[in-house]
């Protein structure tokens, strides 16, 4: 609690920006004296007014941003069960190794011969990702999952171009993550929704009705967005393959199945992986991540260029890839993130990754069982690494919504789960505890949820007013969009 009231009542008043701390003439920067003749910019090109940046000293920056950090909740602060985001603990050692000058202080366009250490790390990581997913080769270039989706879809496009001509449609389950349909559109396809059946799984009959020779492919995550395993997955991939389509595995949920089954064995042709989820690379307040994409043998020619190759002369970037879809990043992707992913993969190893998935499933099922009465599962089946519960019964009984419960959880000491996603579930609460949490933490969270549910009956205003313990309370988002204030 320390510092907090200090900051909100004290000099570092809440929303004062670094610009508000500016004092003319104060400075933090310093450079060596100019030891060469001064060159000046031709007047025609010279800047007019100086930009309005703050004039502050190092201590001002340190106090300001330290204060802001303390107004933020991270995984290191506490439980952070955002569904679909796999907010697992990020081992500190990954930061230490990624910060080695040998990794951090190298230029993207250095000669290959001078970066063999990094290239070998990337090579071994690619091998491991292929082993985990059952793919033949992978590109490490996409900087996040959504870009991985584009990569995959552009490969689908190129593939069909070479095999019977362009196709127009890509199928997506109605519960899919927003990036899926957005990527489909940007890749020049029409997104066609696939309904779910009563079990919350892909409606296979409906799927059969939807496929035709214009279907370029299907995008699917398995376990799906509800945390349920698509038990008819083989049938599903068969159907799509039946019309010459390709099947794309959205790897956001890979944490559920490592070492237990592989997308490749289920019939998937393309797989993206979110290293910031499955492999614990820190989420950084919204990023960076990395979205490597693996493919089966017949799609390897289409992988982005350049692609890593192993030669007698060592590792090199192979740029001569005539069928490649080209590059999707200015350089070679979020290498620093991939080094962290390597650290995670090889520290855990085959045995460790397998038990990661087991404990993730155990934690999710245990937590689901603890809150079942108040927040039943949206669908009956046994969830894997995450589950979608619903606050609908509570809402019907008390008019308290999932959002109110979420805000109350904040006052009770927890970051709430994802709410209102997937859109197909009313009053959805999508909870992914991850394997790194203790039984005690899960029980504490469940107790808080149960307390909120009973308070909804006894003292609903407490939930409507929540949160009360944060530097700001519920914020007026409509106002933010109406009166745009997007800068100082």
């Amino acid at each position: 609690m320390i510092g907090a009231p200090i900051r909100t009542r004290g000099p570092d008043a809440s929303t004062a920006t670094i610009m508000d701390r500016s004092v003319p003439g104060r400075r933090a920067f310093g450079f060596a004296a100019l030891d060469v003749p001064e060159a000046t910019v031709p007047p025609a090109y010279a800047r007019g007014a100086a930009p309005g940046l703050p004039e502050v000293a190092e201590i001002d920056l340190v106090r300001h941003y330290t204060g802001l950090s303390q107004r933020n909740y991270g995984l290191d602060t506490g439980f952070y069960p955002l569904g679909s985001c796999t907010m697992k603990y990020n081992p500190k050692v990954a930061e230490e190794v990624a910060a080695l000058p040998g990794f951090r202080r190298i230029h993207p366009l250095q000669p290959d011969a001078t970066v063999q250490g990094t290239l070998e790390v990337l090579w071994r990581l690619e091998e491991a990702l292929c082993a985990l997913t059952g793919m033949a080769r992978a590109t490490l270039q996409p900087p996040a999952g959504a870009c991985g989706e584009m990569t995959g879809l552009l490969m689908m496009r190129a593939y069909h171009g070479d095999h019977g001509g362009a196709r127009t449609k890509v199928l997506i389950p109605d519960s899919a993550h927003g990036t899926n349909p957005a990527s489909v559109r940007l890749a020049g396809f029409e997104a066609v929704g696939v309904p779910s059946d009563t079990r919350g799984l892909v409606d296979v009959n409906a799927l059969e009705g939807l496929v035709d020779d214009q279907v370029a492919g299907l995008m699917l995550t398995n376990p799906n967005t509800l945390g349920l395993f698509e038990e008819e997955i083989e049938r599903i991939t068969e159907i799509v393959h039946g019309v010459g389509g390709l099947v794309y595995y959205d790897g956001a949920n890979l944490n559920a199945i490592m070492g237990h089954c592989r997308p490749g064995d289920m019939g998937f042709d393309i797989v993206h992986i979110n290293t910031h989820k499955t492999f614990a690379t820190p989420h950084g307040g919204g990023g960076p991540g990395a979205g490597p994409v693996g493919v089966v043998e017949r799609l390897v020619p289409y992988l982005p260029a350049p692609l890593l190759a192993r030669t007698d002369a060592g590792f090199v970037w192979d740029r001569d890839r005539p069928n490649s879809i080209g590059r999707l990043h200015g350089y070679n992707g979020n290498i620093g993130v991939l080094v962290r992913a390597y650290a995670y993969v090889f520290a855990h190893g085959a045995d460790g990754l397998k038990s990661v998935s087991e404990l993730a499933a155990l934690n999710a099922n245990y937590l689901a069982s603890l809150i079942r009465e108040d927040f039943p599962l949206a669908y009956a089946g046994r969830p894997m690494h995450e589950f979608v519960a619903t606050a609908k019964p509570l809402k019907d009984a008390t008019d308290i919504r999932a959002m109110d419960v979420a805000k109350r959880l904040i006052d009770l000491g927890y970051h709430p789960s994802t709410v209102y996603f997937p859109l197909v579930v009313e009053e959805a609460m999508m909870v992914e505890p991850t394997e790194t949490e203790t039984k005690a933490t899960l029980e504490g969270y469940a107790a808080a949820l149960r307390q909120a549910a009973s308070e909804a009956r006894t003292d609903p205003d407490l939930l409507r007013a929540a949160p009360l313990s944060t530097p700001v309370r519920r914020l007026d988002e409509a106002r933010a969009a109406r009166h745009l204030k997007l800068r100082w």
Binding site: P51, Q110, A113, A128, A182, G349, K485
Partner: protein, 424 residues
């Protein structure tokens, strides 16, 4: 716990998986190792790289060896920032939200434009997003100045295959801009480090009713006219130089800024200030209706996870610089680059590719030998001497000079390059 979930074993939790897709046998990945073994392994790999503490760096082409003050990562590395995610719960995320608000403000101040966002992946994908903003309403053609880095054009081409546009490269500064042209893209400084007659390019763009898109260098904006001053409608850049490590190519961040009329076409997260129920000011993600998680297939960007951490570092770095520091930085880079050009062109057979064109911190040299061979030879002298610009000729070397490069280092490079070339 197993009892509570009604499972006899952990394995039972995987019963939903059809038997014949269950993985039999091993993954073919070694088993786990201890932290201390991992550190030894990765330290070993790191030592196999020649890093820029060993090699004096004159390489650039979008990624530069500028100095990163210690405080940047001491603060950006605070775990409350580092281990948080997209601020879906603003009450728990005022820290990140405010930093992003400050970031947007600073990018607007730098570019002289009106609206920015919470970061994109990198400079090349930022350009793609800018084009997505411009394309539409019958305007589908994308004109690209031949001063734009081929890597960026390549990236545009890849994404264009999906979005349905093909970048058309033009020479000179007076492109033909018809009613079907969506945008004119100019790099200033361009890939040769040179300053373009950019007002001419943009004049043509505006006469034709197309959007003017500038690719800029954030480190130049203390001394060079801002994109806003130059008439850009949209400005994008590789943000790495703003306090981010080279990291062999990433994570970096893409900068984008535009005019307020285009705010609803902007990609990615945008932070806005608002009030809470008590009337206390606070920050939230705003205009989310633009984004994939709401707009889904109608969204004109699919970005979700972005480069927020890099934006935090950039914000702190820009706070460290301030207006004076940015000016001094520009003065130092351009002066040191000019000195380097004068020294290197004294080497017999070495000349500037564009002798009469002003440049900022980077310039292209024509060498009497293939640039790649020269770069390789310079490694043995302790220099990363530059980046070969194959697209401009195998004898073209792009040399970048930041504020870090001392006169002594520049003189030593000149001597070394002289020896290398004499040795041929």
């Amino acid at each position: 716990m197993l009892a509570a979930v009604g499972a006899a074993s952990l394995d039972e939790l995987f019963d939903q998986i059809p038997a014949d897709v269950r993985l039999q046998g091993s993954l073919g990945i070694p088993n786990g190792i201890s932290e201390m073994e991992l550190v030894d392994d990765l330290r070993g790999h790191a030592l196999k790289n020649r890093n820029l503490d060993e090699l004096v760096c004159f390489a650039g082409r979008g990624a530069y060896d500028h100095y990163i003050p210690s405080l940047v990562w001491a603060l950006a590395g605070r775990s409350e920032f580092y281990t948080s995610y997209t601020p879906y719960q603003p009450e728990l995320s005022q820290g990140v939200l405010q930093v992003l608000f400050e970031f947007q403000s600073m990018i607007c101040e730098l570019t002289g434009l009106e609206v920015s966002n919470a970061s994109l992946y990198d400079g090349a994908t930022a350009l793609v997003e800018a084009v997505h903003m411009a394309v539409g309403g019958g305007r589908t053609r994308v004109l690209v100045s031949d001063g734009v880095d081929p890597r960026m054009i390549e990236t545009l081409r890849s994404f264009g295959r999906g979005a349905g546009f093909v970048p058309e490269v033009y020479a000179g500064s007076a492109p033909e801009v018809g009613p079907d042209v969506a945008c004119v893209i100019v790099a200033h400084p361009n890939v040769y480090g040179a300053l373009e007659p950019i007002r001419e390019h943009f004049g043509a763009a505006h006469d034709g009713g197309a959007r003017a898109i500038q690719i800029f260098d954030p480190m130049s904006l203390g001394v060079l006219a801002s994109p806003g001053e130059l008439g850009a409608d949209i400005a994008v850049a590789e943000g790495q130089p703003l306090g981010n490590f080279l990291n062999y190519g990433g994570p970096y961040l893409g900068l984008i800024a535009a005019r307020m009329d285009d705010v609803r076409r902007m990609p990615g997260r945008i932070v806005g200030e608002t009030l809470d129920v008590d009337g206390t000011p606070g920050y939230v993600l705003t205009l989310q209706a633009r984004e994939q998680h709401i707009r889904r297939e109608k969204a004109n960007s699919n970005i979700c996870t972005n480069q927020t951490l890099m934006a935090i570092a950039a914000t702190i770095y820009l706070g460290w610089l301030g207006p004076e520091g940015l000016r001094e930085l520009g003065r130092q880079c351009s002066s040191r680059a000019a000195y380097a050009a004068s020294r290197l062109t004294q080497i017999p057979g070495v000349s500037l590719v564009q002798p009469d064109v002003p440049f900022f911190k980077e310039f292209a040299l024509r060498l009497p030998r293939p640039a790649t061979a020269v770069v390789d030879a310079l490694i043995d002298h302790g220099f990363l001497g530059g980046v070969p610009l194959a697209d401009a000729g195998e004898d073209v070397l792009l040399v970048a000079v930041t504020e870090r490069r001392t006169r002594r280092e520049i003189d030593d490079l000149a001597r070394a390059m002289g020896e290398v070339l004499a040795g041929s």
